[in-house]
C-alpha cells in the first residue's frame, strides 16, 4: 500500500491526466478492464467550466522518442462531467482525482467549489499550464501568480489540492515552493514541454494548434531533473511523470523524491502499462529487500 495525502493506494502508479479515457477503454476492452484496473487512482482529463471542442486536427505528430500533441483540452464542461462522467468513474473501484483548469482565479474557484461537493472525488488536481486571460502570462509559470491562486482556492475545499506544475517556467522549483506556501497538499510534474513540428515538405506548422506539447521518452531525463529539483525544495508529496515506460523509469522518479508516479504516453502503446509498471516496481522492491 502507498499513502498519499491521506489516501490509501494499492501501489504508487497512477495515470497522467488526459492520457487514459477510462470510459472509452471500458467500452473497448470490456469489464475485465475494471476488474484489473491498471492504475491505483484515476485522474480525469482536464475539465473546464464550459464545454470545449479542442483544437482542429491534425492533433498529433510523432517526434524522436515521443509525441507532440495539440489536443486543446476537449471536455464536456463541468456540468456534464459532474452529472454523467464522475458517477461512471466511481465504478472503477479506485480513488478519483479530478483535474480542473480555469483561466481566472474566479473560474478556478467555481470549479473547485463544485468538485469539492462531490464525495466521489478523493483529490483535486489544478492544471495551471494555461495563460491568464487578464495578464497573458501562464498562471503556473509565475510563482507570485501561482501562490495567489492557490491561496485563494485553499479555503474552498477540504480535499487535497494537487498543483500540476508547468515545465515551461524559468524556475520550476520556485513555482513548487509558491504552490506549497499557498497551501497545496502536493505538486505534480511534468506537464508537456512546448514544441512544434513543420508539415513534411512545407514551411507551415503541422499541428492544427500551431504548437503543441512534447511527451514520452524524449522528456524522461528532463522530468527526472525537474522532479529531483522540486522534491528537494518542498516538503509536500510530489507526483512525478514524464516519459515513464518501465519499472526502472518509475523507480528513478521515486528515488529522487517522488511519492507517486504517473504514466501518460506509454499507455497509448500499451493499454495495460500502468499494471505492468507497478508489477515491475514491486519486483524491484522485493529484490532490493531480499
Amino acid at each position: 500500500m502507498t499513502a498519499f495525502c491521506g489516501i490509501e493506494l494499492a501501489h504508487p502508479v497512477i495515470n497522467a491526466s488526459g492520457c487514459f479515457d477510462a470510459l472509452a477503454a471500458r467500452e473497448v476492452f470490456g469489464d475485465s478492464l475494471i476488474e484489473r484496473f491498471p492504475f491505483a487512482a484515476y485522474v480525469s482529463k482536464t475539465v473546464t467550466l464550459g464545454p470545449r471542442a479542442g483544437n482542429p486536427p491534425p492533433r498529433l505528430w510523432e517526434a524522436a522518442g515521443g509525441l507532440i500533441n495539440s489536443i486543446g483540452l476537449p471536455n464536456p464542461g463541468i456540468d456534464a462531467y459532474l452529472e454523467t462522467h464522475l458517477p461512471a468513474y466511481a465504478a472503477l473501484g479506485v480513488p478519483i482525482i479530478t483535474n480542473v483548469m480555469g483561466s481566472t482565479v474566479e473560474q478556478f474557484g467555481e470549479l473547485v467549489e463544485r468538485v469539492a461537493l462531490r464525495d466521489e472525488v478523493a483529490a483535486i488536481e489544478l492544471n495551471v499550464s494555461c495563460p491568464n486571460v487578464a495578464t497573458g502570462l501562464d498562471i503556473g509559470a509565475d510563482p507570485h501568480e501561482l501562490e495567489r491562486l492557490v491561496t485563494a482556492l485553499r479555503p474552498l475545499s477540504a480535499k487535497p489540492l494537487i498543483v500540476k506544475l508547468t515545465p515551461n517556467a524559468a524556475d520550476v522549483a520556485a513555482c513548487a515552493a509558491a504552490a506549497e506556501s499557498g497551501g497545496a497538499d502536493s505538486v505534480s510534474l511534468i506537464n508537456t514541454l512546448r514544441a512544434m513540428a513543420l508539415a513534411p515538405g512545407a514551411t507551415a506548422p503541422w499541428l492544427g494548434g500551431g504548437t503543441g506539447g512534447l511527451s514520452g521518452p524524449a522528456i524522461r531525463s528532463i522530468a527526472l531533473a525537474q522532479v529531483a529539483s522540486v522534491a528537494a525544495s518542498v516538503a509536500i508529496p510530489v507526483i512525478g511523470m514524464g516519459g515513464v515506460a518501465s519499472g526502472a523509469d518509475a523507480a528513478a522518479l521515486l528515488d529522487v523524491g517522488a511519492t507517486l508516479v504517473a504514466v501518460g504516453t506509454e499507455t497509448f502503446r500499451d493499454p495495460a502499462a500502468g499494471r505492468r509498471i507497478a508489477n515491475e516496481l514491486a519486483q524491484r522492491f522485493a529484490e532490493n529487500a531480499a
Binding site: 473497448v28 486536427p57 522518442g65 502503446r269
Partner: protein, 240 residues
C-alpha cells in the same frame, strides 16, 4: 508472425492471435517487438493502425504498403519475429440493407475492410490503384472492376469515375468505401448528391487506437468524433 508474402507493391502479413476475431472495417495497432525506432527521424515510436484483411481460426491478416518508418519496419518482418498487437479496435461496417446492392469502392491499402466485407456479405467491388504493380491487390477481392491512374489496367482514371457511372444507372445501391482521403471526399460528395447512402472507413493519425488520446478526431455535424472509437466507419451524411 506466422506468414508473409509479397503481393505486387504490398506485403501480406499473417499473425497468430487468440483474441476474438475482427469484424470488417476493424483495425489493430501494430508494432514490432524488436527494432521499433531508430528509423527515419528516429521513428517509429507509436504503434501503427492497420486494418484487418482476414480474421479467424487464431489468425489475423494485414495488407501493408511501405510508406514510412512504421510500415517499412512491419514490411521487413520475417516469419517468427514478434509483434505487439492491440485489437480488434473500432466500429466496423454493419451488414448492408437487403433491398440495396452493395458497391465496394476503394483503393490502395484501403481494400482490406472491403475484402472482409465482401467475404461476409458479398458486394460488387470497384477498385482504384496507381499502376499495375499496385493493382495486384485487387486479387484479394472477387470480380473487382479496376481503374488505374496510369491506365495500365482497367479504366484509365479514378475509381470514382466508375462510381459516377454506377450512380447514374438506375439501380438501388448503397456504397461502402475505404481509401485515400481525396478518394473518400469524392465518394462522399458523389453519394450525397445522388442521395445514395454511403459508409466511409476513414484514416487519421492515431497515437492509441482506443479513445485515450483524443488525437484522431474528424469533424462531424455533431462536433469532433474520435475516428478510433466512434469510427473508423462513419456514415457519409454525418461528416461535416
Amino acid at each position: 508472425m506466422v506468414g508473409r508474402r509479397a503481393l505486387g507493391a504490398y506485403v501480406v502479413l499473417e499473425v497468430g492471435d487468440e483474441a476474438v476475431a475482427a469484424a470488417p472495417g476493424q483495425f489493430y495497432m501494430l508494432a514490432a517487438v524488436v527494432g521499433w525506432g531508430g528509423g527515419e527521424g528516429e521513428r517509429p515510436f507509436l504503434g501503427r493502425a492497420i486494418s484487418a484483411l482476414f480474421a479467424g481460426d487464431g489468425r489475423v491478416g494485414f495488407l501493408l504498403e511501405d510508406v514510412g518508418p512504421g510500415t517499412g519496419r512491419l514490411c521487413s518482418l520475417a516469419v517468427g519475429e514478434e509483434l505487439w498487437l492491440v485489437g480488434p479496435l473500432g466500429r466496423g461496417f454493419d451488414a448492408p440493407p437487403a433491398e440495396r446492392e452493395a458497391l465496394l469502392v476503394g483503393g490502395g491499402v484501403g481494400i482490406p475492410p472491403l475484402a472482409m466485407f465482401q467475404e461476409a456479405w458479398g458486394g460488387r467491388a470497384l477498385l482504384g490503384f496507381r499502376d499495375a504493380r499496385h493493382a495486384a491487390g485487387a486479387s484479394l477481392l472477387k470480380d473487382a472492376e479496376l481503374a488505374t491512374d496510369d491506365g495500365s489496367v482497367g479504366h484509365a482514371g479514378y475509381v470514382t469515375d466508375l462510381l459516377e457511372r454506377e450512380l447514374r444507372a438506375a439501380g438501388e445501391v448503397c456504397v461502402y468505401a475505404c481509401g485515400p482521403p481525396a478518394m473518400l471526399e469524392t465518394v462522399r460528395a458523389l453519394t450525397l448528391a445522388a442521395g445514395v447512402p454511403a459508409w466511409l472507413a476513414l484514416e487519421a493519425p492515431m497515437a492509441c487506437g482506443f479513445g485515450a488520446c483524443f488525437g484522431c478526431v474528424v469533424a462531424t455535424h455533431d462536433g469532433f468524433k474520435r475516428v478510433c472509437l466512434d469510427g473508423p466507419v462513419f456514415e457519409a451524411a454525418v461528416l461535416a
